[in-house]
């Protein structure tokens, strides 16, 4: 169904999502924004995996992308559990303001 569009198109799309994720992580100061950036990077990987999985009889990429989604959910849940505790103690969620562990 997708022969009309070249693989480079999807590689570019996933590269764009990946680089946008990195930009968000660098630019934004909130921990939630960093999580958003991580999710975008994971989705970039998923897009690659699902796209190339079409050409793999073993469907490795598709299976992997399902697992990646599950792991991402677990990671976000853990991050929020920790963030809730941090908010209780600091009343902030900006990673830059957490500076009590500097040298």
């Amino acid at each position: 169904m997708m022969e009309a569009i070249s693989p480079t198109y999807f590689v570019f799309l996933s590269l764009f999502i990946f680089c946008a994720g990195i930009a968000i992580i660098i630019i934004k100061r909130s921990a939630i924004f960093v999580l958003i950036g991580i999710e975008l990077m994971l989705n970039a990987a998923n897009l690659n995996l699902v796209y190339f999985s079409q050409y793999d009889p073993g469907m490795n990429g598709l299976m992997t992308s399902v697992f990646v989604v599950v792991l991402a959910a677990a990671e976000v849940a853990i991050a929020l559990a920790i963030l809730l505790n941090i908010f209780k103690h600091y009343k902030i969620t900006d990673p830059d303001e957490l500076t009590s562990l500097k040298n």
């Binding site: 921990a31 677990a74 562990l101």
Partner: protein
């Protein structure tokens, strides 16, 4: 079809019986934790689980499953035995009440690390690394202090970014090769510039796990704030597994024959040694200092991966085994001082005079960390440096020589920071005498470790025999 695949499942589970035992044991621990409120129960179940898996691990049992996803070699057998053996000592840590969740997470770190050793499929790779990482993030927060949470979230954000980069690298490699099995990938991959992009991303995730520059930022704050027994596991088990995995990747993708990769890895290793050593010089917090020391140790293990053949393997097994023993000992000592409320080097004034035996044990373990005789630390460093020297003679690469010089320099500088502790504890004068005493169990365990460190120095045949066993895997 169905029966055939059932056979495959049974075959894979047989290969993974060490991990299966760990899973079953930790589930039992979880169930028991809901019924019993007694920490001794958790500790007993924790050690029974590890003992059973230790019993099931077998160095000679090597093989690859039919699907190719699981591949066990004798190196992973040896390292699994080391993991189970080292983790056993956790139960002797004297600490405040720990709930069963704590021991459950410790088991899952060991499980994830041993899976890392067996994975030959990039998905399993990723899952194993994530299992280890997620448990590590959680357990860092288990100190339930402000700083503990801060260290945990920083660790998580760093780790999340690096694992996202890693899975992106995997997806690129998959696109180029159409396969996820490492062995198939190498054959099918269409080499080109993008292949190296994918490879660098994949290596980056592994560098994070072992704490190499530029992925070392999480190490000091995590080691400083996480519960001490958890740090002892964290600094040993996932790190060694990460190095074994790194070696597997470097070998299977034939990156070591590429001089650029060798150069880059050597430069990163040198930077790691320098970063760890100079970072440690500035520290006063005991655990933070050990953390920087651990970074330097990572940098020192790295060159063994560049050395192909028997010598590299021998140096690697020697170094990681000794590293595991002395790191376990030093964290146990750190936790004993913590019971006294001592966290900084400056708080230790005169404690060695009041407790001379403890002071002497601390001194010996620190001498091992530095790498001086009469301890096994010296033997490990000796094997390491002689193998690097031989590698330099064989290849003539300047970078290897620089590596050797930097490594020796780090040993000299290690004298300055590690010996701060005995300096203060023996030569300082206490403002007031310390009350209380060290727990007798911890003291005897530290004594056992010290004897081990001395005994291995005096009769290294025992370890040599083990290290010799891995020769046939072709390091």
């Amino acid at each position: 079809m169905m029966e055939l695949s059932l056979q495959h499942v049974i075959e894979e589970l047989t290969l993974l019986r060490f991990e299966t035992a760990l899973i079953v044991g930790s589930l039992v621990l979880l169930t028991a934790g809901m019924l019993s409120k007694d920490e001794v129960t958790y500790k007993v179940l924790f050690s029974i689980t590890l003992l059973i898996s230790l019993f099931l691990a077998d160095v000679r049992d090597i093989g690859t499953s039919t699907s190719g996803a699981i591949s066990i070699d004798s190196l992973s057998g040896i390292l699994k035995i080391l993991f189970a053996f080292i983790s056993l000592w956790i139960v002797f840590f004297h600490s405040t009440f720990r709930r069963y969740e704590h021991y459950f997470l410790l088991l899952s770190i060991v499980l994830g690390s041993s899976l890392m050793l067996s994975a030959n499929h990039l998905l399993l790779f990723y899952i194993a690394i994530e299992l280890t990482s997620l448990s590590s993030y959680l357990i860092t927060g288990f100190s339930f202090s402000r700083k503990g949470y801060e260290a945990a979230i920083k660790y998580l954000l760093f780790g999340g970014v690096s694992s996202a980069i890693m899975i992106y690298g995997i997806s690129i490699l998959y696109g180029l090769s159409g396969s996820m099995l490492i062995s198939d990938m190498v054959i099918n991959v269409q080499a080109g510039p993008f292949y190296h992009v994918g490879m660098i991303c994949l290596l980056g995730g592994l560098f994070f796990k072992v704490g190499l520059v530029p992925y070392h930022f999480w190490v000091p704050s995590t080691y400083q704030e996480a519960p001490t027994d958890a740090v002892a596991i964290l600094s040993i088990v996932p790190k060694i597994a990460g190095f074994a995995l790194l070696h597997r990747v470097l070998i299977s993708f034939e990156l070591l024959s590429d001089p650029i990769y060798r150069q880059v890895i050597a430069v990163l290793g040198i930077a790691t040694v320098l970063m760890g050593t100079f970072g440690a010089l500035r520290q006063d917090n005991i655990k933070r200092m050990i953390a920087y020391g651990a970074i330097a140790h990572s940098g020192l293990v790295l060159p063994t991966l560049l050395i192909q053949g028997e010598q590299g393997g021998l140096a690697f097994v020697w170094y990681v085994t000794i590293y595991a023993i002395m790191t376990m000992a030093i964290f146990m000592i750190a936790s004993m001082y913590e019971d006294f409320g001592i966290k900084d080097v400056k708080d230790m004034k005169g404690i060695g005079i009041q407790f001379p035996v403890m002071g002497a044990l601390t001194l010996l373990i620190l001498v091992a960390q530095i790498g001086l005789p009469p301890t096994a630390g010296f033997t490990a460093k000796f094997y390491l440096f002689s193998s690097i020297w031989n590698e330099y003679q064989a290849s003539g690469a300047t970078i290897i020589l620089i590596y050797l010089i930097v490594g020796l320099l780090s040993v000299v500088l290690a004298l300055f920071y590690y010996l701060k502790i005995p300096f203060h504890s023996f030569l300082g004068t206490a403002e007031s005498p310390y009350f209380g005493n060290f727990s007798i169990i911890s003291r005897s365990v530290v004594t056992i470790f010290t004897i081990m460190v001395l005994w291995i120095f005096l009769s290294p045949e025992f370890l040599n025999k083990i290290a010799f066993n891995i020769n046939f895997i072709g390091w």
